[in-house]
Amino acid sequence: MAEILVLVDHADGAVRKPALELLTLARRIGEPSAVVLGAGAAAADIAAKAAEFGAAKVYVADAAEFADYLVVPKVDALTQIAKAADAAAVLVTSSGEGKEIAARVALRLGSGIITDAVDLEAGADGPIATQSVFAASFQVKSKVSHGSPVITVKPNAAAPEAAPAAGTVENVTVEFTGNAAKVTARTARVSTGRPELTEAAIVVSGGRGVGAAEGFGVVEELADALGAAVGASRAAVDAGWYPHSNQVGQTGKQVSPQLYVAAGISGAIQHRAGMQTSKTIVAINKDAEAPIFELVDYGVVGDLFDVLPQLTGEVKARKG
């Protein structure tokens, strides 16, 4: 059966959810093998988790280079493993780094690349990837027509499903090439305790209407009552009210949750590009003419500082 390599994204010694989604998708097009790079002592646990989600083999490589240099060591490792395994396809999570790794691996393998797939299916001559383009106004299905497909897949493209497999660990010694930028310092992002923006089932976002950094308090309270992630529009981020890591939109994160709550967000194209594929959209905005209301399943024209606290109270009451 065709061997599909999945680069496993991990942080703090744990597998990140999008990697489990990739393993689930990989089973549609062949037999998944996981690639675990630079995980140190956590590699065994990560390998076990990958096996639980269908990895027949787990390639493990560890070296200081993975942390000390940007992108290239992972490219070296993934290319070496893909060539040795004669992989039928390589899947990587669509993050900034993931896409950079995938692109260089594709070039080294002589393969075409598709980025930001939101779905993946088996086709007559290789996997077919679905992308959502032009601010999610079109769906494009395409395939790689040259070499072994290299495809990056967005978080939330599939629900992870366990399917225990052997998960035979194969340790790999990587030959590193060089020409990489050096990482001289790294500061881990402080966890907020909330779900990851791109992985969350519910996202509550605030925009210009929130008015100030302190205004995000009511947004966060609703998010916490719903168990949601917090997002922000570019206007709110540019104003310095909320961190760029939480920006939803064309130049921030693209999210596709079950429920998206937009508070004080007008709905400019830049924002819509990041949330338009959400399953259910609700909005609260003072301006009845705001373009966001064209997208919503349910909208409230009103002051978010009245509506959100009342909604938060109701959510808490109903959850008991």
């Binding site: 079109f138 395409s142 009845a288």
Partner: protein, 261 residues
């Protein structure tokens, strides 16, 4: 010798327009007015700042595209870049990112560079992989997705904000840099800048000049193929209520009906 900075820019359909596909499944570049990709303005801005800080630098702006793409160069020149290079050839139409990176790499080699600067992604394709592909093709370190960047003593340094960590990264020149929309507001061209841009040189190159065969690029040379393009049905507008004091409760009832709470 002065620092040679080359900024790669793209002419894209305006994202606020009704962007569509042409019959051959390539981006329809006639339906909507084009402009310099907003995210590339940040690349031009950082290149100009690096040039200003060095005191002895030349900024070249490079694009691959049809006749209209000259507008993107003009904008960058009016912001303050010194000269332009325009790779324009009918056979390029339909090129994928792999082919585009090959064309840009050849043009960069021909132009000469110490530092290559790119935006974080185009606003049409939005792949964000071109800087990495250029680094791979040119055998240069990639110092990418920077929110802060500076060049000192032949070393480019910057801050990269990733999903799980913020990193300080650096590499000796020559190198490929990409900058995010957090790197600093791009300047508006001044009237003087717009007038001066008219006299700045733009070199025109075609595939022959770069030693690239027509079948290596374009739709036929692409390593990916579009199977289908489907317009997403417009979202149907739902219920809109005006808050008369019960808006939060009404919204809660809706969310309960939908089983979110």
């Amino acid at each position: 010798m002065s620092l040679r900075i080359v900024v790669c820019v793209k002419y894209v359909p305006d994202a606020t327009g009704d962007r569509r596909f042409a019959d051959d499944t390539t981006t329809d570049r006639d339906a909507v007015d084009g402009l310099l990709s907003e995210l590339d303005e940040y690349g031009v801005e950082q290149a100009l700042r690096i040039a200003e800080a060095s005191g002895d630098a030349e900024v070249t702006v490079l694009t691959v595209g049809g006749d209209d793409a000259r507008d993107a160069l003009k904008k960058a020149l009016s912001m303050g870049a010194d000269k332009g290079v325009h790779v324009n050839d009918d056979d390029i139409h339909g090129s994928d990112v792999i082919a585009t990176s090959a064309i840009l790499a050849k043009a960069l080699e021909k132009t000469g560079y110490d530092l290559v600067v790119c935006g974080m992604a185009s606003t049409d394709g939005t792949m964000g992989v071109l800087p990495a592909l250029l680094a791979e093709r040119l055998g240069l370190p990639q110092v990418t997705l920077l929110s802060e960047v500076a060049v000192e003593g032949g070393v480019v340094k910057g801050r990269r904000d990733g999903d799980s960590a913020t990193e300080q990264v650096e590499a000796a020149l020559p190198a490929v840099v990409s900058v995010t929309d957090q790197s600093g507001e791009a300047r508006y061209p001044s009237f003087k800048g717009i007038m001066a841009a008219k006299k700045k040189p733009v070199e025109e190159l075609d595939l022959d000049d770069l030693g690239i065969e027509a079948d290596e690029v374009g739709l036929a040379g692409a390593w990916t193929a579009v199977e289908t393009v489907t317009e997403r049905p417009a979202r149907t507008k739902g219920t809109i209520v005006k808050d008369e004091g019960e808006g939060g409760k009404q919204l809660a009832s809706y969310l309960a009906e939908q089983k979110f709470i």
